[in-house]
Amino acid sequence: MPVTPEVLLTRLQDALGDKLVDGRVALGEVTIEVRAEDWHEVALQLRDESGLRFDELIDLCGMDYSTYAETGRDEGRYAVVMHLLSVVRNHRLRVRTWCPDDDLPMVASVVDVWNCANWFEREAFDLVGIVFEGHPDLRRILTDYGFIGHPFRKDFPVYGQVEMRYDPEQKRVIYQPVSIDPREVNPRIVREENFGDVGHG
């Protein structure tokens, strides 16, 4: 039988102690936050402690919070989020850490804890530009060979920066600045908290 999210959170609090910066249950899911310097140690604990036993890394992704609700987040700009699953104990967990340095976001790699983190970390490096210290082979994975920039950062335009075409004069494929005009059909809207209340505005 799987434990309830609240019980799991208490177990996490007992196991991690003051390494746990924040822990909460929302929408039936447990989320914890840890400091970047504890990242690797916490990962090992999550995998090996008998009450936790998170034996599978389901997902790991880089996040750019710079335009969150238009203003960004106080904790920082970049974060790494991983989703863990315990096949043995049948529970799930989300772990987040904030990268301390916005200019060079860096956290420790967890490839030695869960081997499948290899490609996930390469993807986070490629798309968001987070560097994973200790990763055996940190190359780009999804973007083109020789791609410049990290496309999932919020300041990277959705239309990209370069486009590719065949140039008949040079008889080869060339890159040139993108020629599409930016266009947004439906603007992004974040409503204020009491929108639509009687007597508001």
Partner: protein, 417 residues
Amino acid sequence: MAEIKNYTLNFGPQHPAAHGVLRLVLELDGEVVERADPHIGLLHRGTEKLAEHRTFLQNVPYMDRLDYMSMMQNEHAYCMAVERLMQVEVPIRAQYIRVMFDEITRILNHLLWLGTHGLDVGAMTMFLYTFREREDLMDVYEAVCGARVHAAYYRPGGVYRDLPDSMPKYEVNKYKSAAEVKRLNANREGTMLDFIEDFTNRFPACVDDYETLLTENRIWKQRTVGIGVVDAERAKQLGFTGPMLRGSGILWDLRKTQPYEVYDRLDFEIPVGQNGDCYDRYLVRVAEMRQANRIVRQCVDWLKANPGPVITGDHKVAPPARAAMKNNMEELIHHFKLFTEGMHVPAGEAYAAVEHSKGEFGVYLVSDGGNKPYRMKLRAPGFTHLAASDEMMRGLMIADVVAIIGTMDIVFGDIDR
């Protein structure tokens, strides 16, 4: 005798056994693979980035284009994530319809996998048989949503519309005589559910046919038994899910262990392998097709007996009925706001996962309270499976590489996203 040196071989991206656009760089010693380095991203369309610039409803069709062999299951995970964030209740009939189409999709996917995997390792006939059955299910897809592949049928809050009362029929033309058309239309006279019921009656015999061709086939066994062995511990380390994990002997299926929708009310079994080789994964998937057929049948029976709404009545999430919209100002405003500005999803984050044909397909959705997702991360099962190819292929022959790519059931739509 001349000394043979190591050399590097580019396998794909145009090789037919690469299942799309896999570029696999193989380092070979003679015919033995020393190292395999898959280069992916040739089909990268930036779905997650595009999603940040589309409203929650506009994102649904993008999901079909991820794993384009199990379209509705992708939509399912996305809709579940939105529903969890918005705390919307889905009507029970919609849940049954979703489960039925998830399982139809699983059969579609496994049929394609069986056909192409057979083709890769030399069992040419399989392809012809499996595509015959796929055609019937494609017709079901088309009848329910108008598209054979890119359905956009599931919506946050339910499904787009109720099941149709009739199936499209063949017509007489210069290639098909009246007698021929009568035979072809025999099972299309009733409702769509009757057609699906007829399919579930026929399908177990079809699976028996496939098994006659392959299961005890000497060549098939020589190509798959003991190839690409992954033990249970390694399978977990490598992040395997779905048939890849079950083939290694771990009983884990989200439909049983963390049931969503109405799977806990349905009767089905989870097939598990023993040795973790290509042959066991083949057996697991074939058994899964039989179980999926059972689930579809149970859903058909339930759906025939229980009419009801198929999408939530909350007009902040789902559009009002067409007739109501024409007669009522408030409904008109709801319709207009929903299809221009879109729904507003409360700030928060949710991860919803479904037991996809290939493994666990998850959607991690972060909303900051706007009408578009702040960030969406798709967890594709094929991504971790392909990442393990180096470990699985090392020390085997080039011919086995093809068998391993086949057994991983790779589709690039969701690996590259």
